[in-house]
């Protein structure tokens, strides 16, 4: 039988996902010692694991080359897409927030504000909901630098503990939305392989 393929987000969410799999009782030997292999097997479970960057997890699941995916809500909000988002895995908890230089009032004045962010889609939506025109600049690396260098009035970014912000003299002015890791499913797969996929999904849900 064709194995079920699951795409996992590399990095921040990887360790927690592997722990979750171990809790289910999956043999995670290959996942622990992955070397350079890109497609890993979970023996005895008819499961193949692909490790990918967050946005790629969505792409793979959307196109149906992976049946399931584990990805952060931040990526889902930024990239969107059509798939089923069936479970909140409870780990990788953080939030999107608007942060500015400590002591400044972001909303003061009538000048168009500039926002630096790695998540232009999320930032645009947030300010569109407020009916506010802002200029958005996409930054690839440490977004915190932008207001410090005077490039932007504020940033929209993921905040976990707030330590990085504090150390750089920034503070959260507004929380946008809470985030965590999600289990997503390709919509055609769920329909064509309902039994097999539901079995895996319920195992994962039971282990959360």
């Amino acid at each position: 039988m064709k194995p079920i393929r699951i795409a996992l987000t590399k990095g921040r969410l990887e360790e927690s996902t592997v722990q979750l799999f171990e809790k289910i009782g999956y043999n995670c030997e290959q996942l622990r010692n992955k070397g350079r292999k890109l497609i890993l097997e979970v023996p005895d479970a008819n499961l193949e694991v692909v490790l990918a960057k967050a946005a790629d997890v969505i792409t793979y699941v959307e196109h149906g080359v992976c049946d399931l995916g584990v990805v952060g809500k931040d990526t889902i909000l930024e990239y969107g897409g059509s798939f089923f988002e069936v479970a909140d895995l409870g780990f990788g908890k953080c939030r999107f927030a608007l942060a500015v230089k400590k002591g400044t009032d972001f909303y003061a004045g009538y000048k168009v504000k500039t926002i630096a962010t790695k998540y232009p889609g999320v930032a645009r939506q947030f300010f569109a909901d407020k009916g506010m025109d802002v200029e958005i600049i996409k930054i690839e690396g440490s977004v915190e630098l932008a207001p410090l260098l005077g490039l932007s009035d504020g940033i929209v970014d993921i905040v976990e503990t707030g330590t990085t912000l504090k150390e750089n003299g920034l503070e959260v002015t507004e929380n946008i939305i809470s985030l965590s890791a999600r289990l997503i499913v390709n919509s055609a797969s769920l329909k064509l392989r309902k039994k097999e996929l539901e079995a895996v999904i319920s195992k994962i849900e039971a282990a959360i």
Binding site: H63, V65, S82, V86, A188, L192
Partner: protein, 397 residues
């Protein structure tokens, strides 16, 4: 700019050889089926007035449409949908024709998809519309047609999933929500986003209805779903929809199509457009929906004629993509016919004869035999005919 002339615009591509064969094969098989059931083809223009697609009730988001301006400054759209132009046609030129109208189409639609996602902006669709007929019988006919259309393409495994828009619309109507909240709940059900849906519905006052809505996205599977739904959905108004689905499912089973059919009461796409049964087709090996359809009894009134209608469309490329690996590679001709100076007409007559016997013969444009032979070897053509006073067959090993 200089380089743009060498490439196809994003979201489009050149379709070559086997891809064309696969596409035409799908189109022909399905077309023949439609014709055999009394459907007539219509071709609507590739460009339409933007207004055709921009009605308040059923419009298509403007950011998804390719737009142009005509010579009078009016806005046009490359058509993003085939049903709306046909509704326009049915309400105007075909206004006084006998009902029901059984129409089919096979044309491209154009839609703007997000860049770099591997999705196509130009999608060939084939489908039917029955206009001027409501009720169970028509629903059944169209479902059978949809199943048979997929079946006619010799697919390994496919599934038609049936739902009814009434479940969502009835339940959500009881909650008296504004448009924004309704849309939010609809999206959560569509994405089967159980955690967020539960959070959202826990805030509702009508606990009974909220509990039923929570269960909606999980109600999918085989016939057993109908019994589960009867218990799970605490709402007498939806009993008639369950009954309708049960009766359709039974008829389809009697036709031997039961194992191809499943149910999903959580199908809630375009809830403002569909008014009755809705369905989607999935094919093994394809991550997206290959077929979409449903009943849309209010669309025609946008164009000034109120009458029921139902239809579906199939993404021809999606089906062709699944069939492609099993198709033979682009065939090479059986024979290359080379005419010596002065024997061109004789050679062409010979080609006509070969073709009438079912062979594929190509006329050599080269001036001499050696070049013809070299060309045949490169193309992998197994035989060269040399036409002079005589006719010599040269087999190339």
């Amino acid at each position: 700019m200089l380089k743009n002339k060498l490439i196809a615009p994003e979201g489009t591509r050149d379709i070559l050889f086997e891809d064309c064969t696969a596409r035409r094969k799908v189109e022909n098989k399905i077309k023949n089926l439609f014709v055999s059931r009394g459907f007539s083809e219509v071709i609507t223009p590739g460009i339409e007035f933007y207004d055709v697609f921009s009605s308040d009730a059923h419009g298509i988001p403007q950011e998804k449409m390719y737009k142009l301006v005509d010579s009078k400054g009016r806005l046009l759209a490359l058509k993003p949908d085939l049903t709306m132009p046909i509704a326009r046609l049915a309400a105007t030129r075909l206004r006084d024709q006998v009902r029901p109208l059984r129409l089919f189409y096979s044309q491209n639609i154009y839609t703007i998809t997000p860049a770099l996602t591997g999705r196509s902006d130009e999608i060939p669709q084939i489908g039917v519309e029955i206009i001027g007929a409501g009720g169970k019988r028509t629903d059944l006919e169209v479902l059978v047609l949809a199943l048979e259309a997929l079946q006619s393409c010799n697919l390994d495994d496919f599934r038609l999933e049936i739902g009814h828009i009434g479940f969502f619309n009835t339940l959500i109507g009881k909650l008296n929500l504004d448009e924004e909240q309704t849309e939010e709940i609809r999206t959560l059900i569509q994405n089967k986003n159980y955690p967020a849906l539960n959070d959202m519905l826990d805030r509702m006052e009508d606990k009974k209805t909220a509990a039923s809505l929570k269960k909606l996205p999980a109600l999918f599977g085989g016939e057993e779903v109908l019994d589960e739904a009867a218990e799970a959905l605490d709402c007498p108004e939806v009993a008639s929809y369950l009954e309708a689905l049960r009766s359709l499912y039974q008829s389809l089973s009697e036709l031997g199509l039961g194992e191809r059919v499943s149910l999903d009461l959580g199908i809630v796409n375009r809830t403002d457009y569909y008014t009755g049964i809705v369905f989607k087709g999935y094919i093994e090996g394809l991550g997206t929906t290959a077929l979409q359809g449903g009943r849309y009894d209010t669309l025609l009134s946008d164009y000034g004629k109120e009458e029921p209608a139902i239809g579906f469309s199939i993404n021809v490329d999606a089906v062709a993509k699944v069939l492609l690996p099993a198709l033979p590679k682009n065939p090479v001709p059986d024979v290359l016919v080379f005419a010596e100076e002065g024997f061109e007409v004789k050679a062409l007559l010979e080609i006509r004869k070969l073709a009438s016997h079912g062979f594929c013969a190509e006329f050599s444009t080269f001036e001499n035999f050696d070049e013809s032979r070299r060309y045949a070897i490169k193309r992998g053509i197994p035989t060269v005919y040399v036409v002079n006073d005589d006719l010599v067959e040269v087999r190339l090993s």
